[in-house]
């Protein structure tokens, strides 16, 4: 199962981009959790989840976003999401995640939001 999900890390300006590739489900969520956790520990608080290649997300996957967002926002950072496929976006929408997170078309737009210092309040 673990081969069905990969994370590629890169940097864009001051932000860290985690490109998610494949199935983010209960089985692979811990992998993503570790990735976000180590970024947060390293003090990288401007995080962009690049979802272009994300083909599926389950509640457990969304749970990873929920688990870290408070801590990261408290420290002045944020997680922004970009490039979500319509099928995947539907899941975000159904559970109300689009109201909790900045979701934009692409990584560059997410980076620009960080540059403007904008942050979604809920």
């Amino acid at each position: 199962m673990s081969t069905n999900f990969r994370i590629e890390r890169s940097e864009l300006g001051g932000a860290v981009v985690l490109a998610l590739d494949g199935f983010l489900d209960a089985h692979t969520a811990p992998q993503f959790e570790n990735a976000i956790s180590s970024e947060a520990e390293a003090g990288h608080l401007h995080l962009i989840a690049d979802c272009r290649k994300l083909s599926y997300i389950s509640s457990a996957g969304l749970g990873v976003f929920m688990s870290f967002i408070e801590e990261i926002r408290e420290k002045g950072g944020d997680i922004k999401l970009s490039g979500i496929e319509p099928k995947v976006y539907q899941v975000f929408e159904v559970l109300g995640f689009h109201e909790l997170f900045d979701i934009v078309d692409n990584v560059e737009a997410a980076g620009a939001l960080f540059d403007q210092g904008s942050r979604r309040k809920d």
Partner: protein, 532 residues
């Protein structure tokens, strides 16, 4: 002139009706419909102010207004307010008895409406009424679809959790998967999970709910029938059987959403699945642990097997055989035949107190001690006292051994022995006479500084010696009678003409026949030596 104007008006009415029909039937957006209606009618009647209200929650409410600030969208609509705002013309939308809404307008700048204009309005409003119904139905379908999407999402969450839980038997990983799934599903940022399964390491996962007291929660969990809301927290007991083994606590949902009854049901479904997975993981951990112990025992048994001599040395004028049968995987009996100097062998049969791994360790200790001492070739009394002191020093006082040590000279048949609290050695003379070799001292390792006396005897051709442990004489049957030394001697007498190996076969058979299916409680060891 008059006729042409009428004709143009008629044409424009038809055009407007057609356009409206197209627009109204094509659009499912209620707001768009109502705005269009208001625009069209105000345009046709040249009214400067207007409002449209529709039935909502059992009363008319303003949907849109133009040119009147006093009628705000959303507020209840009544005719008096409308009249005051100058909207003196009202038209029901649809059936006048149960209208879907109402259109209120300021007087037409074109004066009183003629019959044709009224017909037109009636047609337009009829059209609007059915479109409003359509839009409303559509809106309900959307709501239903959304509910359906939620259900689909719930199902796929259940399925995904099921797969995730099935993919691991690691308890900590299960806790992670469960918390992530619940947090994602309910958009929750703070959560905690505690378990207190007996005999298992407890799990404590807390994020943002550090103020929780696990001990108090455990008490509270006992009183919970299922999912429950307390002080804005969702409590979900982990329970696969009668006993609650743990609890999940979820903090408030984001977006200030409440936990509804359906959410509680759903969470309970997830928990039921998770509880079974936890049970399985715990059970697996248990059996893995047991399996490890068994593997270690098997290893100990194979090590112990190597401690016994693989074959006895060939000695002049001597036939010899020895056998050990353990009651458990590892035991505390020991026999050995060691070189104790030129043309001297040491025969040894010992029984270590207790059973199992502890006894087997002591047996290994005894063997090592003997071998170390033998290299200096001490007198047999010194061998016994030094063995005793070394064992005493290296083991707790409750650990000791009874032992029979005999120095045997194959060339002459001369024997010297020390019986350290052990069973009597049996000597069966060629003449048929029986001699018993009684204890000459205390068990080894029991007390410090013990001295031992030695006995001596001569074995001649046709004589038979049997050394054994109490597993032979104390083997019991279902009536709790013991095999006793008498039956042992009887058996040796009956088969004394056989080879030692065969005599042992008969002895073990006799013991088994006597026991008659009673379980073997103790290790059974015997050594038979025949002087040729």
């Amino acid at each position: 002139m008059e006729g042409r104007t009428d004709a143009r008006l008629d044409a424009s009415r038809l055009e407007s009706l057609l356009e409206s029909a197209k627009l109204l039937s094509a659009s499912l957006e209620l707001d768009e419909l109502l705005k269009h209606l208001l625009r069209t009618v105000m345009g046709r009647l040249l009214s400067l102010r207007g409002a449209v209200a529709i039935q909502e929650d059992g009363g008319l409410r303003v949907a849109h207004s133009r040119g009147v600030t006093s009628l705000r969208p959303g507020q209840p609509f009544n005719l008096a307010d409308a009249a005051e705002a100058g909207l003196t013309m009202t038209f029901p939308i649809g059936d006048a008895a149960a209208p879907a809404g109402l259109l209120a307008l300021s007087p037409s700048k074109r004066g009183a409406l003629d019959a044709s204009e009224n017909d037109f309005l009636e047609a337009l409003l009829g059209l609007a009424a059915s479109s409003i119904e359509n839009a409303r139905a559509h809106r309900q379908v959307l709501v239903a679809n959304r509910a359906l999407d939620q259900k689909v999402q719930e199902l796929s969450t259940l399925l995904d959790l099921g797969r995730g839980l099935a993919s691991t038997i690691d308890v900590d990983e299960l806790a992670s998967i469960l918390l992530l799934t619940l947090s994602g599903r309910f958009a929750v940022r703070r959560h905690a999970l505690f378990t207190w399964k007996a005999g298992q390491p407890p799990i404590q996962r807390v994020k943002g709910l550090e103020e929780l007291d696990p001990v108090a929660l455990q008490e509270q969990a006992k009183t919970l029938e299922g999912a429950a809301l307390r002080d804005g927290l969702l409590l979900l007991p982990i329970r696969a059987s009668a006993e609650t083994q743990g609890i999940v606590v979820l903090g408030p949902r984001a977006l200030k959403l409440p936990y509804g009854a359906a959410d509680l049901d759903f969470a309970q479904g997830l928990m039921a699945q998770a509880a079974v997975a936890f049970e399985n993981a715990w059970h697996f951990r248990d059996s893995l642990f047991r399996q490890q112990i068994e593997q270690e025992l098997a290893l100990a048994a194979s090590i112990q097997k190597d401690l016994f001599p693989k074959r006895l040395p060939a000695l002049a004028s001597t036939c010899m055989a020895a056998r050990n049968r353990q009651a458990r995987q590892v035991g505390g009996d020991y026999y050995d035949v060691l070189k104790a100097g030129p043309e001297v062998s040491l025969l040894c049969v010992a029984d270590i107190s207790g059973k199992g791994v502890a006894a087997s360790l002591l047996m290994a200790n005894l063997q090592a001690t003997l071998r170390a001492l033998l290299s200096a070739g001490p007198p047999i009394t010194e061998l016994a006292s030094k063995t005793s002191d070394l064992l005493y020093a290296s083991t707790p006082a409750s650990k000791y051994a009874t032992a029979f040590f005999m120095k045997y000279r194959p060339e002459t048949g001369a024997c010297e022995y020390v019986n350290c609290g052990h069973n009597e050695g049996i000597v069966l003379r060629a003449s048929g006479e029986v001699e018993l070799l009684n204890a000459t001292g205390m068990p080894v390792g029991l007390l410090p500084g013990r001295k031992y006396a030695a006995g001596a005897l001569q074995l001649d051709s046709g004589d038979l010696l049997c050394l054994y442990t109490d597993g032979v004489t104390e083997a019991d049957n279902l009536k709790e009678e013991e095999f006793e030394i008498e039956r042992t001697i009887e058996c040796l007498k009956a088969h004394r003409e056989e080879q030692p190996e065969t005599i042992l076969d008969r002895l073990f058979e006799a013991i088994d026949t006597f026991a008659g299916g009673a379980p073997q409680h103790d290790d059974i060891t015997a050594l038979v030596l025949k002087r040729t």
